[in-house]
Symmetry: C2
Subunit: 373 residues, 2 copies
Amino acid sequence: MANDPANRTGAVLEIDLAGIAANWRLLRDKAAPAGCAAVVKADAYGLGAARVGVALAAAGCRRFFVATLDEAIALRAVLPDSCEIAVLNGPVRGSAEEFAEHRLVPVLNDPGQIAEWRELGIRRGAAGGPYSAMLQIDTGMARLGLTPREFDRFAENSPADGAIGWRALLSHLACADTADHPLNEAQRLRFATAHARRAGWPASLAASSGIFLGRSFHFDFVRPGAALYGVNPQPGTPNPMRQIVRLNARILQIREVDAGQPVGYGAAQVMAGAGRLATVAVGYADGWLRSSSHRGTGVIGGRCVPLVGRVSMDLAMFDVSGIDLDLARPGGFIELLNEAHGVDAAAAEAGTIGYEVLTALGRRHHRVYCDRC
Amino acid sequence: MANDPANRTGAVLEIDLAGIAANWRLLRDKAAPAGCAAVVKADAYGLGAARVGVALAAAGCRRFFVATLDEAIALRAVLPDSCEIAVLNGPVRGSAEEFAEHRLVPVLNDPGQIAEWRELGIRRGAAGGPYSAMLQIDTGMARLGLTPREFDRFAENSPADGAIGWRALLSHLACADTADHPLNEAQRLRFATAHARRAGWPASLAASSGIFLGRSFHFDFVRPGAALYGVNPQPGTPNPMRQIVRLNARILQIREVDAGQPVGYGAAQVMAGAGRLATVAVGYADGWLRSSSHRGTGVIGGRCVPLVGRVSMDLAMFDVSGIDLDLARPGGFIELLNEAHGVDAAAAEAGTIGYEVLTALGRRHHRVYCDRC
């Protein structure tokens, strides 16, 4: 089809929804008998929260986490009513009414948020249901959640007036991807101690990596995000998760170059010998981070090809010397992400983590959702 | 208004359209008597091509450059008919008909694209008009455009059959932001030599930085992009461009911390003394690059505050010790980009260039377009 966007766009991004569901089932089984939520914040780590959310709900997931109110409102419109949607960043001052209106569960992170949510519950004169909330406490990350002193005050003084239907006690691990980091056990102990003061509440500490720290980290439910999307939850060991994305970058032009030819901005890299370059239609404006300049790689015909020079805004160049001209041709593709060259590998080349490779994935890519299994 | 998104979103991004128009006029005057186009590719460097395009057309701009066919189709729908829209990446194989249908001008970068476009012109039996094209030649960047050998063949052999209405000869400088780089003059000479073989065509070599290399680089028209949006075209000298964006990150929580408290993922930074942290609702999923971990800064009440720890996906922490509690309060804002802390400053803190700071600007920000002058 001449008008099929897949035939004309600079890149095609394939997202394997069945693979995400399979990853969720693997994590669910790993965490059982604890429950298993799913984190679909940041537009499901860049992969499309509506499509991912629906696929995970079909797989049996009933508890979802997003970061913001707007993300939650969009997700509410597509998920079954039986699904709970919690908002990790909590309510910005003055937005409590909107949480209630859309049946969203705020994660309350500070005393002001708790007071505002309780006031709404009292004003509306009903307990539980739409006035549900989760409470987050900070156990060593200094990011979101009550400080130990604030939690002490809360545990001692908060009125048991039923104005808030507490759905969970949460905290988040800072170093879960480093299994032997001493902060993991310190955070677990602080969390367990706090939970003992609200023992009736479901408790959740572990995200993706935390699931692999053992049963004592699972509490009542776990809430994986990154691992659903292919990030290795235990760096340095074989990745148990499926790769979810394939990114194919269109070749716009093939060029014969001589030895000594400078390539790209700043003439920052020079061809050591004569060869052939492919210019592809993916650049840092597509989220292919500029920090992968000179050191990124792609795959064509099963062979690894190096990125040459600096990544441009809309373009990048790869050395395809020695690659069959039937493959390395205008209109063909270089694979930037695939099963063999996954998000963690691409991240290492860009000096970052797979999470950022995912959330940066560009808007100009033509997106194809597929079910590989 | 409780339902005003500006009151509930994690960040507000203000984009000064009058400032972009003012920047364009400054560059137009600098380049006169050469003409001045505008580059609005990558969604106008992340700022919204439709809004920016209309503002620039109102300021008098009549020639626009985008990177891709999809960008051009979207822009065609909002620009006056008198505006020409050229597509730098050229037609992907098989998409020539769509260029003609939407009255778009492809930049032809290789012999195959020239052949396909000519064939369309012959088949449709008309010259000029919708079969207009620009030709790009590579003069030392090895990115897009005919190689010197390919241009030789083109200049000697291409039929003067009128099937293509040539609108311009283009090339692009690799090192224009380094005024004394020898490649600038080498590229200029190669371009001038090539242009002598097609002297009747309008010629364009300079983008933002090239405009500041002097009149000999201006040829018939210039085509600034980055400088329109506030990037300094001459790094190391005072920036003649206005800052265009303000990014205000919402404070979600204020936290008292003790000396020795680890902050953020990996416990990679530890508080040297007791103090106060603000957690804001902007993270790398919002394009606030993770590479600014530990070294980014924000501004609150006119004072610079350091980013502490690693940037999270949806959050970042700033040290607001000593900042007035009326300012550093939940619901308040830390300015991540403003007139004093512009895109180049933020880029330096993230180890990249202002261009990438702009194109990474996130989708979750509430966007406000304003006319400051």
